[in-house]
Symmetry: D2
Subunit: 155 residues, 4 copies
């Protein structure tokens, strides 16, 4: 286990009904974050959240899932620490607060809310096939490797 507060935390956010390429890349990102000893934070459900968790778990990493509902069993099976918040979509803000930086994979209104809240909090954001915004510290990348390199350079 990493020893906080030394450990770094990165959120991987993206749609729960993600396309195949988004799931594939989220899994690669989760895996590489775990290899670097970084705790992977997600919203705990499916799609990009599950793929990133699976990748991190495969590499022996620690994943935190902040769930929208009150039922812990809604977490995908690759979540190490599952936290039911009961906040609904407001848990997106907790995902951002729990992280030192955010990697967004793909698009969707929930994903966009997490990007926006991260930028509002002044946290770095890296997007892969996500939004191209003109606010805050957000970088667009085109590969999982670049996503991890870019977010780590900004932490």
């Amino acid at each position: 286990m990493p020893t906080p507060p030394a450990a770094r935390y990165v959120a991987v956010v993206g749609p729960g009904d993600a396309a195949a390429d988004d799931r594939r890349d989220a899994e690669a990102i989760g895996a590489e974050l775990a290899r670097r000893g970084i705790v992977v934070v997600t919203g705990g459900l499916g799609g990009v959240m599950e793929a990133a968790s699976r990748g991190a778990a495969r590499e022996g990493g620690v994943t935190v899932g902040l769930l929208p509902g009150l039922d812990r069993s809604a977490a995908n099976p690759h979540v190490t620490i599952a936290i039911p918040t009961g906040l609904g979509e407001l848990r997106n803000g907790l995902v951002v607060r729990a992280a030192d930086g955010v990697v967004a994979v793909g698009r969707g209104s929930g994903t966009l809310s997490e990007i926006a809240l991260a930028l509002k909090h002044g946290k770095p954001v890296v997007g892969l096939r996500s939004y191209d915004l003109e606010v805050g510290d957000m970088a667009a990348v085109s590969t999982p490797e670049d996503a991890v390199a870019a977010i780590c350079a900004r932490l």
Copy 2:
């Protein structure tokens, strides 16, 4: 006073450090919403929030300010009901939940988070000099009159 739950609530969101044209138009939007008997919800602070509240108050309307901090006196003087939430930027989600629809005036990461959360909740959003997104039910307008007409048509 309107008699909920019959009354409708519309959030007017936008930057706290808004430009002059955004403040002017937000005031016109608040005034027109009030003339229609609609409760105006804002984040309670300055800029677009203050301008919309001022417009609504001028027309005898009711304005609700959901403040990020714990201090009620941080509300702008045109807020009728000031609610300190202590949630920081997560109060943006409460602004959206308190409203039946959202009018965004101008741009900023906080504004973007409110647009995204509204779309995630399936609530209509109208933008004036704001973001042009390809997700959910969001319409772009160019005048305060059109903004109010468009949001009311979607409630």
Copy 3:
């Protein structure tokens, strides 16, 4: 309408399935608070919350209902401003934050959480047939008139 931030806000908290004497006294408390120009804050639902709202509304007062769910229509009909929070029981903390002081009528775990959070925030609490705790600034009273007098003396 009162003009915040000058207006004072008092939460009236108590069980949703309140006994007849608790409902009767909550209504009297709501009425007297309204006569004093104080905004009455509740959790927006039934029992003590509805009774306090009814009393305040009868006297032309303003009542704010902070609802646990996302549906505004769950508010009792005497709520002036109904705010769906979607926070579940965590909205109890918002009720406390929205108020300058708390009057508790009757007992229950939700009521107890509001008393405890108010005391934690250093806000005055007055209890009528409620808990007798040895923490913070909490006074026990035996009539609605004493409840209002006691909370107003502490604001």
Copy 4:
């Protein structure tokens, strides 16, 4: 690491300025919970929270700290996963939601709010030198061993 959702989570709550006997017993409780493979959830700060985390960490257990502020480094050094929530005292509700049961050690208004919210959520609570309430499923015990046995019997 435990494999959620199979793992159980127990919150250990109590004052941040705890007396020596409360800290000693909280440490023993955290240690015994960890030996049983239970994830220990706390508010992440000092006093009872730190003591329970220290006990769990000593036994190789996993501890989650849900912090009131936005700064991860406020976590005590024995927290494995530190989550800054920025919710202030409302994070007490998240501590309760994250746990399957609650052990309260000592007294205080924050502790009382956690007990009350747990009972409101229908979760079992065990108290050691804490409140003796007549609501919900709350058991009073007099030793750390009994506290762990009692909460585990109720999970």
